[in-house]
């Protein structure tokens, strides 16, 4: 009996030793020389693996940063500016702080603003609906509301509001850009978060002529140029019957917001002006409330 036990122990130990020796040589043979800084940089990154930097995953981003001669155009949207500065410092680069950005929905065609013209009855996917036809409203540009953007968001930062039928971005947004790729209509844009999270943008992407756009949706941009004329900073351009506010030029004066006849320009997180209170309450989406 005791002999069996001893044999077992001895043979198992011998096996272990042999395996260890083999493993040692195999590990030596197949060792991959890797820059140790990659691990370090990867450790510093938030590790969201969202792909927002343009590389497939954090590790690949770290590798590319370590290899790169200049990392000024590399940015992890999830990391705050301190983290990026720290990584830059570690790798011996100066990193200028990037303005934090957030995704905005450039469509305000809620169920009440935009009448349905038909019922979509296919698979619930924006990509499928948009490859089928213009959409279930008169506006062939706006949000389809099937939530492809919600499906791809890794941060729970976007959801479809039940009453408006439109996606809403909340503070979890890290501006990784996944929703922008997912949206077949291209209605999502990354814009500067703005001081105190205040921003102004045209919440419409309808390029139809004014009358057509207005017929399809109450809050469509009709390309009337009023905002462009009133803007003191030349931040607004009109292209294809659609206004666009350059967020780098915009000084958040809000002149355009009150000028817009269709309330297509949306302001977020401002203290409401008194006389416009009602209208704003009607059109403003509950973003970052």
């Amino acid at each position: 009996m005791s002999i069996t036990v001893i044999y077992t122990i001895v043979s198992l130990s011998a096996l272990g030793v042999v395996a260890a020796v083999i493993l040692y040589f195999v590990a030596q043979k197949f060792k991959v020389e890797e820059d140790p800084r990659i691990d370090e940089v990867e450790g510093m990154l938030p590790g969201a693996n969202c792909g927002g930097c343009g590389f497939p995953g954090c590790r690949s981003f770290a590798e590319n940063m370590v290899k790169a001669n200049d990392i000024s155009d590399m940015n992890c949207p999830v990391a705050d500016s301190q983290t990026m500065a720290a990584i830059g410092h570690y790798l011996g680069f100066e990193v200028s702080a990037q303005d934090p950005k957030i995704a905005v929905i450039k469509c305000n065609g809620t169920c009440s603003n935009r009448n349905k013209t038909n019922n979509y009855d296919g698979a619930s996917s924006c990509a499928i609906a948009s490859s089928l036809y213009a959409g279930d409203t008169g506006c062939s540009f706006g949000c389809l509301g099937h939530g492809d953007c919600v499906d791809v968001c890794n941060f729970d930062a976007i959801y479809i509001d039940e009453t408006t039928g439109l996606p809403v971005v909340n503070d979890n947004c890290v501006a990784c850009g996944a929703c922008i790729i997912a949206c077949p209509k291209g209605i999502i844009e990354l814009r500067k978060k703005g001081p105190k999270d205040r921003r102004i943008f045209v919440s419409c992407i309808n390029k139809d002529k004014g009358a057509v756009a207005k017929k399809a949706c109450n809050v469509a941009c009709i390309g009337c140029m009023k905002c462009a004329k009133v803007c003191p900073f030349e931040a607004i351009t009109i292209d294809n019957n659609l206004a666009y506010i350059d967020y780098n030029k915009c000084k958040l004066c809000r002149k355009c917001v009150s000028e817009c006849p269709t309330n297509a320009i949306v302001e977020v997180n401002f203290v409401p002006k008194k006389q416009k209170e009602e209208i704003i309450a009607e059109t403003e989406k509950p973003e970052n409330s």
Binding site: N118, I128, L132
Partner: protein, 333 residues
């Protein structure tokens, strides 16, 4: 126009199949078998069937409603079907609590733990049956003699199945022909006048169900026929090699759960391959393993194990047994 038009991608018409129709179609195909088991085993058959079906549906309901908190889908008929097939795999004198345990294992572990209908790897009914067979070997292998309504539910007169007797006889080095003398005739086997699990005894009732399912295009012929053919050929070869130790193939086709397994359990859509090519591979596997277990294994019966083993291989079969593509370039080698 007052009403909005519906818009969807094509096609705009749908066929008449539905999950519910398929499930209840199979249930309907099992009715001759149910009738046969009541005819042979009396009230016991009714009790076992009712307990099994009701507890399967109940467990599915409870799990969907209170644990998964999802939509309750007990009306799709899949739980009824599992309950029915499980019952048919049990002896007609099995105590109620064991049946409930089996139903619980089948539904909770065999089906819902994988994510419910369509996700399970193993046939839930067989999982339940095998669980019971391993846990309660005595109760699970004391089969009442088929005596119609004279068969009592409790304290029934029990005996071994023809397969069991065959195995025992061969172990005691009797020759097959001697053993066959003591067993019911092949005609009796065909009609179902033999001991065994409730649903497996009557080959004719099972074949009726098979014909119905083929007619309604619920299943294709591939799986059952291939299993029959494999068992017949493999057992036939064994029988030719040594007819004293290996029983004739027809005996193996008609006894035990082979018919039930091949027609109703191996064909379970969720756990069988998708392509006809895959189905044939899968069925050959089942046939071979069944014959191996029956002739060389410890158990007299092996179809359940065979199906479970092949169930596990189905994903691999699906991966490699691709249908032949139309216009596939063949001359690239």
């Amino acid at each position: 126009m007052s009403k909005l038009l519906n818009v969807s991608p094509s096609p705009h018409v749908a066929g008449s199949y539905s999950v519910q129709k398929i499930m209840y179609g199979v249930v309907f195909a099992l009715m001759p078998t149910l009738a046969a088991s009541v005819y042979f085993f009396g009230f016991g058959a009714i009790i076992v069937t009712l307990v099994s079906v009701i507890s399967c549906v109940l467990f599915e309901f409870l799990i969907q409603k209170y644990i998964l908190k999802s939509e309750v889908k007990i009306y799709d008929g899949s739980a009824v079907l599992t309950g029915l097939i499980l019952a048919f795999n049990l002896p007609s004198n099995l105590p109620v609590w064991i049946i409930i345990l089996g139903a619980f294992f089948a539904i909770a572990v065999g089906k819902m733990s994988f994510g419910g209908l369509g996700q399970n790897v193993f046939n839930p009914a067989i999982a339940g049956r095998v669980f019971l067979l391993i846990s309660f070997p005595v109760q699970m292998t004391s089969w009442p003699k088929p005596m119609g309504f004279a068969t009592k539910y409790v304290d029934a007169i029990t005996g071994a199945t023809p397969l069991g007797k065959m195995k025992e006889g061969i172990m005691n080095s009797q020759s097959v022909s001697d053993i066959m003398m003591q067993l019911p005739s092949q005609i009796d086997n065909f009609l179902g006048y033999m001991g065994g699990s409730m649903g497996e005894v009557s080959a004719i009732a099972l074949l009726l169900g098979f014909a119905y399912m083929l007619l309604r295009k619920i299943i294709t012929w591939h799986i059952p026929v291939t299993i029959f053919a494999t068992v017949f050929v493999f057992q036939g070869v064994l029988n030719i090699v040594d007819s004293a130790t290996y029983a004739p193939p027809v005996f193996h086709l008609l006894t035990g759960g082979l018919m039930l397994g091949a027609i109703f359990m191996a064909t379970d859509m969720v756990t069988s391959p998708m392509t006809h090519k895959g189905m044939v591979i899968y069925s050959i596997g089942i046939g071979v393993i069944t014959v191996l277990i029956r002739n060389f294994g410890a158990y007299p019966e092996g179809i359940s194990f065979a199906i479970l083993i092949m169930n596990a291989i189905v994903p691999i079969i699906n991966k490699y047994a691709k249908p032949k593509r139309f216009g596939e370039v063949i001359n690239n080698g």
